[in-house]
Symmetry: D2
Subunit: 296 residues, 4 copies
């Protein structure tokens, strides 16, 4: 049983915190939104009046926040947490942020002798609730080994991608590839059905052939080929176009900084931005199929 300070109880952070409580950990939580704090308290958490207050007695700090500026501000801003953390505390940041931001915080932690792991997740709110998230971690081996048993309470697959920032890099590489094969899958299914093929039959053929990918396996973008996926529910729920667009922005930034050509990744980023601007930002990202279809 570990004393954990948990900062950020949004759509992802909330259920993640609850799974830690279920696993027997002692949680002290902080969020600006009182409703989500109340919900966590009901699940068994102690509430703190500030992020700093949440640190008391904590051996592990977990943060799950919307972007890199907020993460940097929390840890390394004026009166940031790193000035209040003792050396035996492990910092785990599960936010999806730029690798450079993660490295910035990790370096600041290291200067104070503190271990930090960047541990962005893959899997969405459903996996957060089910405790089946994938964690993709960056940091030193010992820090990762300490983080792993904690993360096990929230996830199914826990990967060590490499040094600090590597978790963010791997997450962004993965999501860029996801965007690319999702659009490619939508293009293939749209073209095939316009030529008279059945979407389900074509999906089966490509899944059993070299076109096989995750979109075809568990997240078919064509309506009514699979039950219980956003495309069969008018593209509600799932992973919003807005969020995919944000991730592709991080991918473009990473590519520019590392001078890595990403011709299809960049094109995917532009397409998702156009889709978002066309009023589809809150639909699931598999709705990119609709961008390809003639509007009546």
């Amino acid at each position: 049983m570990t004393n954990i300070a948990f900062i950020g109880l949004g759509n992802m952070g909330g259920p993640m915190a609850e799974n830690l409580i279920k696993a027997g950990h002692n949680l002290t939580v902080y969020d600006l939104n009182k409703d989500v704090v109340a919900k966590a308290v009901q699940a068994g958490a102690k509430k703190a009046d500030s992020a700093i207050a949440a640190l008391t007695n904590a051996k592990v700090i977990i943060s799950m926040l919307p972007n890199g500026s907020i993460v940097k501000s929390l840890y390394t801003g004026k009166n940031g947490l790193i000035n209040h953390i003792s050396k035996d505390v492990l910092v785990i940041d599960s936010s999806t942020i730029a690798a450079d931001d993660a490295r910035h915080v990790a370096t600041a932690c290291k200067l104070k002798g503190i271990n930090m792991v960047d541990a962005p997740v893959s899997g969405g709110t459903a996996a957060a609730i089910a405790g089946t998230l994938t964690f993709i971690c960056g940091g030193e081996v010992e820090a990762f080994e300490k983080a792993k048993p904690i993360l096990d309470a929230m996830g199914k697959n826990i990967f060590h991608a490499g040094a600090s920032g590597a978790g963010q890099v791997a997450k962004i590489c993965n999501n860029m590839l996801l965007a690319v094969h999702m659009i490619g899958t939508a293009e293939a299914l749209n073209m095939g059905t316009r030529q008279g093929l059945d979407a389900g039959v074509l999906s089966e053929i490509m899944k059993a052939s070299s076109g096989n990918n995750w979109s075809l396996q568990v997240y078919n973008p064509y309506p009514d080929v699979m039950p219980n996926v956003p495309s069969s529910n008018d593209y509600q729920g799932g992973f919003m176009t807005n969020l995919m667009s944000k991730d592709l922005g991080l991918a473009q930034e990473l590519a520019s900084k590392s001078h890595s050509p990403i011709p299809l990744g960049a094109a995917a980023g532009q397409l998702y931005e156009l889709h978002k601007y066309n009023g589809q930002g809150t639909k699931d990202f598999s709705s990119i199929l609709q961008m390809l279809q003639e509007k009546s």
Copy 2:
């Protein structure tokens, strides 16, 4: 045991014919190239001096040819085969050609009362030799049912995609999607490794996550992540850039004809054409990774 006329004994057709012989069928073969004919004869085939001559006693005709013009010329050109085929003979064309060309031949066959199945393959020469090709078929159900036991001798997966031409459509949709996720995979691996990640570790993470696709599973484009793939053999062997470029040309043509937007498919087509023009046409198509890398 069936009497089969086999036309076209190239890199794919040759081993396909041999597998039919091994399965006990009686083959009469024809090809302009005497060397490949001699090889088939050695394997047990009878040779014919013309395509028409090969038809004698045949109950099934299989053709495996380089492009649509040749296929159309063979069957529906001046003194084409359809003028020499009786109604109980089944025509199977395994060439990869435009769906419209396949439909043209199928329609001409139908007017003569002949059944035709378009049955392009996926899997490359290795699968042709091993008899583990995937056949993606178009045509009427009864024709497909008659073709299936013959195709079983050459392949592992035999799909019925739909009406005439549907085999070609599904094949091209699949290969376009393959090109897209291959390039996407190459971009992700190149960017990740430039950021210090290990290509193998990053591959494992994406394979276990939503980036998962066939390229990561069995055909990793990054050298030395997998044994026995072209990327670990200086991109020799496998599926040539030239051939992928040809297939993406067919995809573009199909998209234009069916008014189907294929933003990433079109971009992939352009990238493979640039790669080909840069002198990489005979390398395996996973060599697209090298296009992304700085030349020293």
Copy 3:
């Protein structure tokens, strides 16, 4: 004064025919649509009951038709015009069609000893009415020299691009380039104004710098920078997205056939197709700017 048979009196052909009449030529016209024929007759033309009937006494035939199939059918189809034209008649086709279709008709004409010039136009309906079209011609020098004085009555610039088909090639090259710089101009103006710049000031700066292009000079896509352009009239009138999309389809076909990479031309083709499918097909093609803008 020349006796001219004029086939095809659409939005472009109608005013072109009237300008020929104004210049003193004797026109016999044919079109399936009786209303446009009546209008031409009112302007001074004689009407014919068929395309063949229009040929009587004609020394020049001009056609202005929607696509290559119709042009081929008119001249080289069953009972096509080339069977009814004497050798001293000059054929001018001003339709925008594939270069290969133009060459097909030109070759058929040549076999009969007839001269043909492909002469697609640039400039739109306004220029057709004003008689200020640009004609881009393909064909032998003598044929071009004979066509020029006739075309002068309808246009301001008459170019000889090269051999048969060259007019179509040059037209399509030009329109592909137009699409590319129009989208580029829209992107630059949208990005600049989102950063607080005035669209008119930014346009002036780029026009005086290396960004200078026709879109900035006479067809600014940003509303209210220029008077009397479609962007200042809710993108009504002008050159429809549908037509630009058709021309980019011809460009893609030409590129595929000539194995010419067109990475931006292909991307432009995809963007215009998406724009068309998003219900913007009948707006002027400069409305692509709206595709880049956030919908409220």
Copy 4:
């Protein structure tokens, strides 16, 4: 006659400084490279041993530096110039840097009561030597009015694009558009010539039509169509691919920050990066034509 401190005497800054001297201004110069300082001294400049030392008696400071980090460090870094400038001194930065970096320095200047103008240039080294540069300025009207007579000594066109940073925004918008129409022009010329047209004839036709743009007018990318351009000199000299690639990186950054879709601008950025990585970084940017051509 004005006392001017000039910082940065590279390929552009060197000749710019000389033109100021020729116009009668008193220059004190600073650069890390002693050779370029010696050259300026020979032309009539006084040399300073540090950037701060160059400020003595200066009424205007002009900087011409390679990137935003260096500019920020010069002015607002530790012991930066803004701590040594009096309020009546005008700061002009002609470096091409991110708009946000320009705004950062301008804001810091303003807090000290100092006026700053961002004034990036267009035109390359030839125009720097000839004194015919285009200056694209951002800053308050009064500051711009004070800068203009100074800039007149180095340039032909002096534009006021808007508030601080607007000069950089307009410059980047322009260069992105330049890249797009240059690639589009190269694609059109390559496709047309592959279809048998003469590059010069096709260029003339498009220049007189709606494809018209600066590349066709003064910088034709096809060899030997124009004399005295890089394409007619094996793509030596001119504006390096490396620099265009840098500018497109700035464009991508600006687009991401302002949430502006730039589908063709992004594609152009990727193509120039691939071209650069293919060993063409030091060739003129019009050499992108070669990327489209088959290598023998």
